[in-house]
Symmetry: C2
Subunit: 174 residues, 2 copies
DNA sequence: CCTGGAATGCAATAGTATATCAATGCACCA
DNA sequence: TGGTGCATTGATATACTATTGCATTCCAGG
């Protein structure tokens, strides 16, 4: 079984032309499996929200999701519906909250209870995930020296993804 | 000139009993000097907001600041007033925005255009700042390998500060 | 069945942030 | 001195983000 993984913790961005449908179905399949294993319920609603989040590789706001959800259902959905689904998905590690954008993005590594570093392109809005344990360990050690006990990390890097950087260069040479 | 520095980039938390007045006046004096040097205007309003932020070592929400500001002025202040002041103070490196709390905290190292790592105590709400260039360099290098150009960092660690950790232990032994 | 907890629906409201335009202040220069 | 132009502040409205509380439905286990 060869699986096309476009976000794998290497910080690689989804190449623009990729088989995105398999991206989505893949994420959903793994979510299904994971929830099964954990004995939690991936309900229709939660699956639907997860699918919406995976509709692209850029973080979506809760109200973006809300709108799309309402569309798919014929015009009715309330904020708590979305926020509750998001809460569940976060608990299961299936999505990350992006603090600096007030938005949510799918996570491709839900199995590991990792703390991801996010790379956020300020130009195209796409996100990629980096996993570097060494960085966290260093931070944790440094915090411990100050007597601080770390419980959760937020690491978000904003900048330009490879594609947008190139575009910018070209424009710059005009 | 010996100056009492309670936040110095070491991640040390302000000891509960410290001369906080000198903390505030110190921060204000340096802000004054810095703005002078840079040829930007630290107006009354901005100074007032900065002082409010420095009224403690825990991040304040914009609307907390707004309320206090209104108090000090006799009942009138609007959100944009506060947000504009905050924007200025951020640009000058005098305050940091805390993304994971939607709040703002004073920065004691405005001279260096550093990207601080914040330690946030979930119990008492106090914040301390860590400055570890190595961590940023590592992240930057890692991102660069993926072709990503980092422009700004958000690193926020939530957990328990030394004091609250001790309290927790004591309670735990009950 | 039927029952108890989880999940969802629904209405209201709380909390955070920005857009827009008018009025004022201040540095600079003629 | 007085004007000119830009930065700053005031004021109103509105957009965007998130939560509370309670009613209803669903569903696994007894």
């Amino acid at each position: 079984m060869t699986r096309q993984v476009v976000e794998d913790g290497s910080g690689r961005f989804a190449a623009n032309p990729h088989d995105h449908e398999s991206c989505v179905s893949d994420a959903l399949a793994r979510a299904e499996e994971l929830c099964q294993q954990r004995g939690v319920r991936l309900t229709d609603l939660r699956r639907q929200v997860l699918a919406l989040i995976w509709s692209g590789h850029r973080p979506l706001g809760a109200y973006d999701i809300l709108t799309k959800l309402a569309d798919e259902r014929g015009g009715k959905a309330q904020p708590p519906t979305v926020y509750r689904a998001l809460e569940f998905l976060q608990e299961q590690g299936l999505v990350h909250r992006v603090q600096s954008l007030n938005a949510f993005v799918g996570c491709n590594l839900p199995e590991e209870n990792h703390r991801g570093q996010l790379l956020l392109c300020r130009s195209c809005g796409e996100a990629a995930e980096l996993v570097d344990g060494a960085c966290f360990e260093a931070l944790e050690r440094r915090a411990a020296e100050a007597g601080f006990k770390v419980e959760s990390f937020v690491v978000e890097l904003s900048g330009l993804c490879p594609a947008c950087r190139t575009d910018g260069d070209e424009k710059g040479h005009a």
